[in-house]
């Protein structure tokens, strides 16, 4: 009896060990607390949803996906330590972080280890340093900001613009590109306002905008700060039209800012309100699982996992060293891989080409005003 039990236990242990060995291990480092908690939580939930779906359908090349989540606390120093720890466990692919500053300090570690890093950062400089292992899940600022500047100049007819940005890698990167583009187009930047990450009180900044009296205001802050400045802009009665990027008109910002978000416009690479059937289905699945409507970071996390799936299936093998080479120049069609949601092409620098949207917040909802096609 004892020997039967022992044999059974050994068999179960062997089966478990074998299943474990077969799993493809991914490592995620994200902003699960601190100023970027909204970003990181959405990103993480998007990853978990995609993995659950993929595993339910038999995994990738017959192997299940497994992910470990680590918290960067929205701090680049902590992110670096967490990424190093994650890389020591030799993951197949590294996912995250979402903040550009954290990506900047962790990308060299992943490159040195020869592990592909699929991240959420949008700062222009991230993919301009020749790193062959870094991939975006959304537009870089060099792709999105010219569209933003063109909209401010052509559609809003703004001759004068106030630019409010957050003083970190993300904010500085966006500010530099948009100011250059606005200058080129002939819109004059009459207020250039730097704010701090985590800033709670925007009364003085909005006072400066009010005094400058611009034709339009470009707001480029992280989500929570965007909500706070929207409330303050409303409180101080600033009526100039507001333009931003995804971080100004994301669902979380709308939830936090309430009425104050109405009328704000933004260029959005990814939105759960996009008139795309696969994105609508994603939004429904996500909302059902987590009881809230995701923002673009939920989409980014979800797409990151499907990028892993599509690339691995293209290779026909699980090979972390060949992964980055395969993803460079790869076009993934939504018809072939529905999880990728929209057709996407990855450049040699890890940047993406995909259709995008111009969105306005109307009565607390994102309304897509224009669909901008894929460039190539």
């Amino acid at each position: 009896m004892k020997s039967t039990l022992l044999a059974g236990a050994l068999l179960a242990f062997a089966a478990a060990t074998s299943a474990h060995a077969q799993a493809i291990k991914l490592a995620d480092v994200a902003e699960l607390s601190g100023g970027g908690a909204t970003v990181g939580t959405n990103w993480k939930n998007g990853i978990d949803l995609a993995i659950e779906e993929i595993n339910a359908k038999g995994g990738v090349l017959g192997r299940k996906l497994e992910v470990s989540h680590a918290d960067s606390q929205s701090n680049p120093g902590v992110a670096r330590a967490q990424v190093q720890k994650a890389l020591d466990a030799e993951p197949y692919v590294l996912l995250g972080p979402g903040y550009s500053g954290s990506v900047k300090v962790t990308a060299p570690l992943a490159a040195e280890a020869g592990i592909a890093q699929i991240m959420g950062g949008e700062a222009a400089e991230l993919t301009q340093g020749g790193n062959k292992f870094l991939f975006r899940t959304s537009f870089g600022q060099q792709s999105s900001m010219p569209k933003v500047a063109k909209y401010i100049h052509d559609e809003m007819k703004a001759k004068t613009v106030a630019v409010v940005w957050v003083n970190n890698d993300f904010g500085r990167g966006g500010r530099d590109v948009v100011i250059k583009e606005l200058d080129r187009l002939g819109s004059k930047v009459i207020a250039d306002l730097s704010t701090e990450a985590g800033q709670a009180d925007f009364a003085a900044d909005v006072g400066k905008i009010k005094a400058a009296n611009p034709d339009a205001v470009f707001v480029y802050l992280n989500e929570e700060e965007s909500a706070r400045i929207l409330k303050e802009l409303k409180r101080q009665g600033v009526t100039a039209p507001l333009m931003g990027e995804t971080t100004l008109i994301g669902q979380k910002v709308i939830d936090l800012a309430g009425d104050a978000a109405n009328g704000a416009r933004g260029h959005v690479g990814l939105t759960t309100d996009a008139p795309v059937d696969l994105i609508k289905a994603f939004r429904e699945k996500f909302s059902k699982k987590y009881n809230y409507v995701p923002d673009h970071n939920g989409l980014k996390g979800y797409l990151a996992v499907y990028m892993v799936k599509a690339t691995t299936e293209k290779m026909g093998k699980v090979d972390s060293k060949a992964f980055a080479d395969t993803l460079h120049g790869l076009t993934i069609k939504a018809a072939a891989e529905p999880g990728i949601l929209m057709d996407v092409t990855f450049s040699e620098t890890g940047d993406i080409d995909r259709q995008s949207f111009l969105v306005e917040v109307v009565e607390g909802k994102q309304v897509v005003k224009q669909v901008l096609p894929k460039v190539k």
Binding site: A37, T41, S194, A200, A204, G207, E224, R228, Q236
Partner: protein, 291 residues
Amino acid sequence: MSNLFDLLVAGLATGAIYALVAVGFTLLWQTSQTINFAQGEFVMLPAFLMLAAMHAGAPFWLAIILGILLSMILLGLAFKMLLVDPMMRHGVLPLAIATMALAIGIKEAVKQFFSAEASPFPSIVPTGDISILGHIVSLQSIGVLALAILAVFGLTALLSRTSLGHQMQAAAQNPTVARIIGVPVERMILLTFLINAFLVALASLLITPIYLAKFSSGEVLGQAAFIAAIVGGFNQVRGAIAGGLLIGVLDNLAASYVSTQYRAAVPLIFLILVILFRPQGLLGRAEERTV
């Protein structure tokens, strides 16, 4: 000029909230020599108690009442009985360190049980604008300022015009003599803890719609109110009020006329100057220790 007026109104509105919190600091110090480094977290927590009540289905007005009552029980009664009383006999410093630990505990608990993300919080003051001397001013700024000033004046009247207030002052100034003349000193001390809890709950109600409900939002407030209390005079309620308003205005003017990056440094530089040249605070009394 218009910008300066806007900055002054916004600064006074924020400063009035700092004043509410700073008054709590001075009250606790005067009656029980408690330096409460968790005061910022005391402002953060009531908003979450009110949100929890709303999530449970309570309307906003009921959530406010429940939030204030729960705050008075947790941050007044329980704080005094479970932390201050046992630690007090070990001296001021261990108690101050214990309040630092409490601050971390409250923050982490809110993060754990609620969320690390910010949440929206409804405003008790309606949105809209009014015109004052030709300037458009938001009702919210005026409402926050008015409510905070009302609370502070109410407290000042309680302390200086009522028998209860006189007993509280007596208990603060000389507990031994107060006991001899029949003042229930322990009850008076408890009352100051309850008043502090009420003030922080009110501050929470006023500031959270602007700052959003977030586990870390107490850090900025606690620091600003602490500076305000020292600048104004730690042993005077009116000093804390003046300090709060001054820091609020100074912070806004610094952000506008110096730089956003150095805004946090300006009140600290001011604090250093006050400590160097008027250590008892702008309106404080010089105190000497008995040896």
